[in-house]
């Protein structure tokens, strides 16, 4: 009798142990990992992301572009998603401002970006709050035109622009009100042919160049843009002539991404007549004139021709890693992980399937995960903004060297 009772008890305990293992809903999982594609059901609508920021509430604000029916330039599109990736709000900014450029910068509870007046091409500085309640746009002083890229350094903005009157690439330091603190222009060379790829970039009928701007540890500023007939990485102290230039191959070669590490070391990537090379930890000469084609790098045939590359410095499980995001020929977003200190390859991850996916922005989130913003083409044709959110555990797994 006792044996039978024990048997029954054993069965009941086994049953309840399974019940206790049942899958409970956990909102934390829903914030740690998700994929979202923001869809508009208009046939002619076209949206693409430019940059993304995480907001204090754990959500995301995305700076994007949109196709305009009556303008050659790109319209401005802003989107707010909550921490689960759900759509919250969107703003299609009026066509009196166009051509939004990265970086999308958080400063004093607002998010700043540069854009321009479509009639005068004068650069404008725009700000928006985390909930997209209101967008404020004001022209920058000094008549800076054709913004191409910006960065936020030492509580000031560094803006890269183009002056098509003087045929100059212009780097400027501005305060948050759009006042110019310093500016300098450098000639792109003379002749219509030199300017043509730049204009095509702005109206998006040609190659999209990876314009970038920033500051390195030794106090020099840099920009990745056109200088002296060539798409080059230029180091400057705002003097009349650059301090250093790493030349590309006219408009067919140069750097596709540049992130300063320390000293003269950079995490970078370059393109050269369609080929792509990653240089996770490379010392670059910040003085004199050198050539990017001499730098070598890891060749990645899996990437599309002249691939767009985004680099993120991330701290993962007390380790500094570099995450390269790029577009693969299989129409996925490829993430490549390298040790920052050595440039050693760690692992890779590929996002997306079926529909094409393209990289736009990488953000390490407050929960120590990774958010990847990109463009996908729903039904293989409609450009829409997407977010892939990877959890801290996934990131640690990716950034751990397999023995």
């Amino acid at each position: 009798m006792i044996k039978k009772n024990i048997s029954v008890l054993f069965i009941v305990i086994a049953l309840f142990s399974f019940v206790s293992c049942s899958e409970d809903s956990n909102p934390e999982y829903d914030t740690q990992t998700f994929t979202t594609i923001f869809d508009n059901n208009k046939f002619d609508a076209s949206y693409f992301p430019i940059d993304m920021q995480e907001t204090p509430d754990g959500g995301y604000v995305i700076l994007g572009g949109r196709k305009l029916a009556d303008n050659n330039f790109t319209g401005i599109y802003l989107l707010k998603a909550d921490k689960f990736g759900n759509f919250v709000k969107e703003i299609e900014v009026e066509e009196t401002s166009v051509n939004p450029v990265a970086d999308f910068v958080e400063f004093q509870t607002k998010y700043y970006f540069f854009c321009m007046d479509p009639l005068t091409q004068v650069a404008q500085i725009a700000s928006v709050d985390a909930n997209l309640e209101a967008v404020t746009i004001t022209p920058v002083q000094g008549g800076l035109t054709y913004p191409a890229a910006s960065a936020f350094v030492d509580n000031n903005f560094v803006l890269l622009g183009y002056n098509n009157g003087d045929k100059q690439t212009v780097i400027s330091i501005l305060n948050a009100d759009g006042g110019i603190l310093e500016t300098q222009g450098y000639s792109i060379g003379t002749g219509e042919d030199v300017e043509e790829p730049i204009i095509k970039h702005y109206i998006r009928t040609g190659k999209q160049y990876p314009f970038e701007v920033g500051k390195i540890a030794n106090g020099l500023y840099f920009f990745n843009g056109f200088y002296n007939y060539t798409f080059s990485l230029v180091f400057t102290d705002f003097g009349d002539d650059p301090v250093g230039v790493v030349q590309g191959q006219q408009d067919d070669g140069g750097f596709s991404a540049v992130t300063p590490l320390n000293g003269n070391k950079f995490a970078s990537s370059r393109f050269n007549f369609g080929d792509n090379y990653l240089l996770p930890n490379k010392e670059l000469s910040t003085s004199g004139t050198t050539s990017s084609t001499d730098l070598g790098g890891y060749s990645l045939p899996e990437l599309v021709s002249n691939a767009r590359v985004k680099i993120l410095r991330a701290a993962v499980d007390s380790k500094n890693v570099l995450i390269y995001g790029s577009d693969t020929k299989s129409k996925q977003i490829g993430l490549l992980y390298y040790e920052e200190s050595t440039g050693k390859f760690i692992s890779s991850r590929y996002l997306g399937f079926s529909n094409p996916f393209e990289i736009a922005s990488l953000v390490q989130t407050s929960d120590e995960g990774l958010a990847v913003c990109g463009t996908t083409y729903l039904a293989g044709r409609f450009p829409r903004i997407c977010i892939f959110k990877l959890s801290k555990d996934q990131l640690i797994s990716d950034a751990t060297v397999s023995e």
Partner: protein
């Protein structure tokens, strides 16, 4: 083929039990006393059996998830439409039951293969040009293999030769395997005419997308028919009411192939109706001749 094997196994058990039967000669004991002893003996019995059959499933949505987040239209227009009890599954069960005064406590470990499906559609159209219209429809089928561990109480309503019963219980389920297939069809009017197309079906292993364990309640009816030679034929109908989520909350977005086509599993419970046919035979005998006195 699997079903044929199950049937043959069932047949073997029946034949084996038939072969064990021996004729018992009438005894000289007092018939009344014998009858009382027999009745007392028949108050308790262990039964062992096997049954197999078919099932139909229905998914109930607890919370909806979608990768596609509409910005200018209602999310309900692209919601998943679940089909109920439309795809046939199968199951095979080993039954161990203890009988005591018309009540049976029954443990019935079951291998269950269940299927359910749903579909959703997306449309893009132009207000300026009517021909600019594209529609996509995703048909999604899930196939789940579970090991079910039910604990059931049965009650024999009446009878001897024919014994109808009712049953109620609870079960826990262990996921063994899951697959998912997505078929995409569409109509593209923007190509200059009505272009109907279908893409290749995506088949993926989906075990990670489903919960390792879930549980539920169950109830049903059945009938045993005593063949008179230690064997009962059993016809059993059961309704299982899923009580916990069958989707994995952690791995909802874990499959890039599905995320790429906008697919994320909802939180679901699974209801299931099954009908099984099998046989039972007793484990306690009055004599070495395997006579049970079952009438």
């Amino acid at each position: 083929m699997k079903r044929l094997n199950l049937f043959l196994l069932c047949l073997l058990i029946v034949v084996g039990v038939f072969g064990q039967e021996k004729k018992r000669k009438p005894s000289a004991y007092n018939k009344q006393k014998q009858s009382q002893e027999d009745e007392k003996f028949l108050e308790k019995q262990w039964w062992l059996g096997f049954k197999a059959g078919a099932n139909l499933s229905k998914a109930n949505v607890e919370k909806t998830y979608s990768i596609i987040a509409p910005t200018n239209y209602e999310a309900s227009t692209i919601g998943k439409k679940y089909d109920s009890y439309n795809l046939l599954g199968s199951q095979a069960t080993i039954e161990v039951s203890f009988y005591f005064k018309r009540f049976l406590l029954s443990f019935q470990p079951t291998y269950q293969h269940s299927r359910f499906s749903y579909s959703n559609s997306f449309e893009w159209s132009s207000t300026d040009e009517a021909a600019n219209h594209v529609q996509l429809t995703f048909e999604q089928e899930q196939k789940l293999d579970h090991m079910i561990f039910p604990l059931i109480i049965k009650y024999d309503i009446y009878g001897n030769k024919l014994r109808p019963y009712v049953q109620i219980g609870a079960y826990s389920a262990l996921l063994l395997n899951a697959t998912k297939s997505i078929t995409t069809t569409g109509i593209d009017n923007a190509a200059g005419g009505e272009n109907e197309f279908a893409t290749e079906t995506i088949n993926v292993g989906a075990t990670d997308l489903f919960a390792k364990y879930h549980w539920g309640l169950m109830g049903g009816i059945g009938v045993n028919y005593n063949l008179g030679n230690n064997v009962r034929l059993n016809l059993d109908a059961m309704y299982k009411l899923g009580m916990s989520n069958i989707s994995s909350t952690e791995n909802r977005y874990g499959n890039d192939r599905l995320s790429g086509v906008g697919e994320a599993m909802d939180d679901l419970t699974l209801d299931n109706i099954s009908v099984s046919l099998g046989c039972l035979f007793p484990m306690r005998f009055l004599s070495s001749g395997f006579k049970t006195l079952d009438k």
